[in-house]
Amino acid sequence: MLLPRNLKALCRLWVADRFMAELLQFVISGLTVGAVYALVALGFTLIYNATDVVNFAQGEFVMIGGMVSAFAYAAGVPLMFAAMLAIIVAIIVGLILYRFGIEPARGASSVVLIIITIGASIAMRGLAALVFDKQFHKLPAFSGEAAIRVLDASIVPQALWVLGGALVIVAALWLFLTRTLFGKAVLATAANRMAAQLVGVNTSFVMSFSFAASAAIGAIAGVLVTPITFTSYDVGTALALKGFAAAVLGGMGNPLGAVAGGLIIGLLEALGAGYVSSSYKDAIAFMVLIGVLMLMPGGLFGKAHTERV
């Protein structure tokens, strides 16, 4: 009499266990991919705040991070220095983009500026294909490839690096913006460029800084994620689209929203692929995006929109 009941309980436990393991696997997958979207979205947000420009070359910073570090590493540079080199190169490219692409056209409408960034992204992709090549490249995982098993779900250590890296960047950015004078100058420029200028903030410097910081964040994301996803000259386009969607979902211009938006889109994709259908997973993510924007046009964390006059 006792045995069947025990069996049933065991069976239920096993089903619950497997369900948990599956769920955990999906969530880990979603968070890892989402963390990358979040970092790209964060880059969008920084530049958008300081300059009102939606920088569609943001994905290319991720590409530069991955490609430069992969090539430097393949040439024998230690991983740490290869990563730093990649970040420096991305910062330089970001500054060049601002100085020669955005600044000269500062009076132009935001549509024009957006088109400039799209042009820049195409140019960067073409240059990368020439400077590097058109093959896929990889970096070794920072702390080995062996998967860690948690409750029958498995995590590659690199995923923890991606998540941890994203967390550190977000925390550092938050501290910088709220606790330092220069950070406050960035926020002031974001709030009202003219007023900031009048109280003595060097807004032009703040704007170049925002491009440099976005480029650096993108490059770090590129370095962190390349061991998992590989990199090639054209990985930026898809990332920029997803990152932009994440930024819009979270509320354009809100750093916290950007991070939340990225993680939500990543999770929706993974859960959609796992529980609904892998064919429709992108559709699910974007349908949620459309739904949210219809109900809350400013995004999840966006302020109620006020027209600037």
Partner: protein, 385 residues
């Protein structure tokens, strides 16, 4: 005696010289062959080795005197893997360059886009695209050299049958190649008594396929997983398979048959099974294998000239060029229609992809024997049979 023979020989040679020269003059210098290749763009990993191969071997053929006494002039256009671009270039090859035959395109979509152009113009096309639909239903002037994607499934299922595995899970990309291999597998499965118990897909730009693979892994009774993909996603799938702890045999397909897939996948590639052309394991073939000589010669020539490891893709270009040149030699002319007839009569041509036997019903001419089951061991290709 030898003196006399020598004298006779040299005088014959002197006599023959003007005749030979007249022959070349009559043949009017060059014969133009067109090539449409995806040298750039997402399919560049196909187009690049194909372009190198064609250039290399045309040069070699010309050094040996060309074909039928005419030098070959290769006209290559880079179609970027784009169907509409390919169509424009195909028109140009036909109308302006007036080529006698076209090699390529590298992929299936563009091939389908231009097959009507060559049919109307009446010039033979030897495609390097994989999809079976290129030659089924048959078109009069269209041929292809790579194995069809459905054959990859058949070879895998044949291997599964041998191992008494009957329940397979599929994971394929949503790109043209992935779709075509998915349809091929689903159609071929019943013939081999294989049941498809899981059918997952992913987007070619996806970065993580663990959710799909977790689902496959947890499908009741699953005995093998087959992946239909190429490029970076194929390597991501390979790594993810290892990551989620799949214990059943894992099959890839011929789309990953290049060293770069092994490099990207690292340890995860070890032990993965896939059907591929013999050229990949040229140096490991048995000496009695009729393909060994051709495969090894191609491998050495290519690797020496480019300094890069071979893929099977450049081999398709080699096969296409050589089938065309031999057909021209048999036809003793470069008249497109006669060359077409001769291509169709290709029998027992030993290429890098296998032994070609074309007929008026089969414009590919390869059977399953052309595929070898290979695996990866210590970062290198190895015969699995």
């Amino acid at each position: 005696m030898t003196g006399v023979r020598c004298f006779v020989k040299s005088s014959l040679a002197v006599l023959a010289l003007p005749v030979l020269m007249a022959g070349t003059a009559l043949a009017q210098g060059t014969v133009k062959i067109g090539a449409l290749l995806a040298v750039t763009g997402p399919a560049a990993f196909l187009g690049e080795p194909e372009e190198k191969t064609l250039k290399m071997y045309v040069e070699e053929l010309n050094a040996k005197g060309g074909v039928n006494g005419q030098k070959i002039e290769l006209v290559i256009y880079d179609d970027g893997g784009d169907a509409s671009k390919t169509r424009t270039f195909a028109q140009r090859l036909v109308e302006e360059d007036k080529v006698v035959a076209i090699l390529g395109p590298s992929t299936s979509g563009p091939t389908m886009a231009i097959s009507q152009v060559v049919e109307d113009a009446g010039i033979p096309l030897i495609s390097f695209g994989g999809a079976a639909v290129i030659v089924q239903p048959m078109k009069k002037f269209v041929f292809k050299t790579p194995h069809s994607d459905r054959m990859a499934c058949e070879k895998v299922f044949e291997d599964m049958k041998k191992k008494k595995l009957t329940k397979a899970g599929l994971i394929t990309g949503t790109d043209a190649f992935g779709k075509s291999i998915r349809e091929g597998c689903i159609a071929a499965a019943p013939t081999y008594g294989v049941e498809i118990v899981g059918d997952e897909t992913y987007n070619p730009t996806d970065k993580d396929m663990t959710p799909q693979l977790t689902n496959l892994k947890n499908k009741a009774g699953i005995q093998a997983i087959m992946s239909g993909s190429f490029g970076a996603p194929a390597a991501i799938v390979t790594k993810n398979v290892k990551q989620v702890g799949v214990t059943v045999p894992f099959y890839q397909n011929h789309g990953v048959a290049s060293k770069s897939w092994i490099d990207l996948s690292g340890d995860a590639a070890e032990g993965v099974l896939l059907p591929a052309a013999a050229v990949l394991v040229a140096d490991k073939l048995a000496d009695s294998d009729p393909q060994k000589k051709v495969a090894l010669a191609y491998k050495t020539t290519y690797e020496k000239a480019t300094g890069k490891p071979i893929s099977t893709f450049g081999g398709h270009a080699y096969d296409g060029l050589m089938i065309l040149v031999e057909a021209m030699q048999r036809a003793k002319t470069s008249d497109p229609k006669k060359v077409r007839d001769e291509i169709e009569k290709t029998k027992g041509f030993i290429g890098t992809a296998g032994i070609f036997n074309m007929t008026d019903k089969d414009h590919m001419g390869l059977d399953l024997a052309a595929f070898k089951m290979v695996t990866v061991k210590g970062g290198n290709w190895q015969l699995a049979e």
